[in-house]
Amino acid sequence: MKQFLIFVRKEFAHVLRDRKTLLILFGLPVVLIIIFGFALTNEIKNTKIIIVDYAKDLATQKLINKIESSPYFELEKSIRSHQEIEAAFREGKIKLAVVFPANFNTDLAHLHQAQLQIIADASDPNTANTLTNYLTMIVLDYQAELMQANQVPYRIIPETRMLYNPQLKGAPNFVPGVMALVLMLVCVMMTSISIVKEKELGTMEILLVSPFRPILVILAKAVPYLLLSLLNVITILLLSVFVLGLPIKGSILLLFAESTLFIITSLALGLLISVRTESQQTAMLISLMGMLLPTILFSGFMFPIENMPLPLQLISNVVPSKWYYQIVKAVMIKGLGFSAIWQETLILAGITIFLILVSLKNFKIRLA
């Protein structure tokens, strides 16, 4: 035991000595929370649009005012003719154009029917779709106002309630994702690199010929990263509560227990990579390309899994961060208890045991 503690101290010295890496390890969650919390949003705001108004009458003026006052759109300029639309799109700033034909108001008032055209730059189909929908809603809204004046019968009024996240903020969706991402990064990359580094520099041989049991050498390497990761979990939770104003609805104890389980899973993964690779560069690139991208892709926090083709959906089941992400979301945002997440926990535990067994089987105490 005493020997083990000495080894842990050695590993801590290694970690603490490298100030730049340490700074990144603690800076990364802070920066990610700030970026995700304040900079990144799929909400559409301040989109620049142009309006071609051939009518220039009361109705179009009212509609334009309505469009301008919505938070989604920002009127870049009014142009005279629709021929200028394409050039404006090519410059790349404008995403949408609205064309009002001549006599808009007269048609609306007398024929009870008027037309307007929306042209979207669909190079980004999603934004185009959303923008068209928003603009349609504004027009429908205006139409409803006209209707109210005319007393329309048989009205169905949908009453919508947004559960869990009434202000439709992005935070509840990504905070669990950032947790999975950071833990994955710290545990997988750091452990695999630190073990392979000993191999590369030749110090592994010294450790292996010492009377200390080889498996304990590896365990001692994992301890500092386990603690660092828990510190990272605390940082992220503090930031999300105090900076993003996202309360933890469920049990904190349960959240920490599940996080510890996930950290152990990631450490096991790092261990597996390190026993299979010989150079730091390879270990880094494998953990980066092989672990981080799947975490971003398949955990479901950036892209909905149910939209993916079936083979990818099946692959997502073996990505541990997917399960961890679902657990954190259930405990932290929905405030559910263990009974709601026991299945996910069981799967995560199963993956962990599998990873540990495989890496132990591959662990060689003799070097070539």
Binding site: F38, T136, P153, M162, L168
Partner: protein, 372 residues
């Protein structure tokens, strides 16, 4: 000049000797381009809806069949009470609940208006919002049909109606891959060139071979150029491979001039490689270089407009984006590949990237010291 050629020979040998590295340079972009565009799909469809129909009238049934036939919604459950349906939301099996209260049909006809209750799981704000918008549109449509049934058809529309036609330019079939593939390719080229160049000089430091170079009469700029050129060429290889995949797998060919893309790439690679080398000169170990490079590249990727639109960002974030080289590359890729923009449209981007290249490489050269 001769010194440079010898240095280049050395660098190329080192790269070709390392098989794993070569495999990564070639396989990673291809695999990523095959998987990423399929996975990175924001299209909102298959919204799981739980229905609570307490009316069981022909009206409520018609509304239900309209919703399920729209293509956006997938029926997750047909429940007897809201409580039952709410459990589906809790267990993530449903995204939203629509409750049609008892007396829906009767009230609508007799009292001229009737409420419907909608509860949306809003953890994913975008999905919730769009799901809500789609559903309201279906309900509005359904509503006007009912009105048509009950009102006397007259010569004019009884109520003022604005007809909206919408068209989608540059990508009429709303193909999401057309949008994602060029951006992802830009990100992959940046990642690979950035990491490799960041790891390069520092490896010589860690292994100790840099001392041997330092005692030779090799000039600083020769050394930096020798490190830069091989990765510059590799960047071209990666990019070309990516374009081939985009063409063969996704059928995407640039609408604009392909030469213009390569011209921009040539400048852009200089900037990214300069950035990598700069990190390398500041780091002591490969681990450190890797983490610093990763730190910046993930920020570049997240704030590059690849996954979320830059326009939606707040003022300060848009100011930060101006210092993000990747955002210019993604922008240019989308402009040239999708919209067929020409030299005049991207000259601003070219100028900025040239500035990045000069500053970053100059800085790296100044910071590389031949003495320790």
């Amino acid at each position: 000049m001769r010194t440079l050629l010898f240095l280049l020979e050395k660098e190329f040998r080192q790269i070709f000797r390392n098989r794993t590295l070569l495999a990564i340079i070639i396989a990673v972009p291809v695999v990523q381009l095959l998987i990423l565009p399929l996975a990175a799909n924001y299209e909102v469809k298959n919204i799981a809806i739980a229905l609570v129909d307490q009316d069981h009238s022909s009206y409520s049934q018609k509304l239900v069949s309209r919703i399920t036939a729209s293509g956006y919604f997938r029926l997750a459950g047909y429940n007897r009470s809201y409580k039952e349906a709410y459990q589906l939301i809790e267990s993530d099996q449903a995204d939203l609940v629509l409750e049609i209260p008892a007396g829906f049909e009767r009230n609508l006809i007799r009292e001229n208006q009737q409420e419907l209750f909608l509860a949306v799981n809003a953890i994913n704000g975008v999905k919730a919002n769009l799901g809500g918008v789609y559903l309201s549109k279906i309900i509005t449509d359904y509503n006007s049909d009912i009105r048509l049934q009950w009102l006397q058809p007259s010569r004019y529309n009884p109520i003022p109606l604005i007809e909206i036609t919408s068209s989608n330019w540059f990508n009429p079939y709303l193909n999401y891959q057309l949008f994602m593939v060029p951006g992802i390719l830009a990100m992959l080229v940046t990642m690979i060139s950035g990491y490799l160049s960041a790891l390069n000089i520092v490896k010589e430091k860690e292994v100790g071979t840099i001392e041997q170079i330092n005692v030779t009469p090799i000039k600083k700029h020769h050394f930096i150029l020798g490190k830069l050129i091989p990765f510059w060429i590799l960047g071209f290889v990666t990019f070309t491979l990516g374009l081939l995949v985009a063409w063969l797998v996704y059928g995407i060919t640039p609408a604009g001039n392909i030469g213009l893309l390569y011209a921009f790439l040539a400048l852009y690679l200089l900037a990214v490689l300069g950035f990598g080398l700069l990190i390398s000169t500041y780091s002591d170990t490969q681990q450190q270089a890797m983490f610093v490079a990763f730190f910046f590249i993930i920020i570049f990727a997240l704030m590059g407009g690849l996954f979320t639109p830059i326009d939606s960002m707040p003022e300060w974030a848009r100011a930060v984006v101006r210092f993000n080289p990747l955002s210019y590359f993604i922008d240019v890729m989308r402009m040239v590949v999708l919209r067929g923009s020409g030299f005049k449209d991207i000259q601003y981007h070219l100028g900025i990237i040239a500035l990045f290249a000069v500053i970053l490489n100059g800085w790296a050269m100044l910071n590389y010291k031949k003495t320790t």
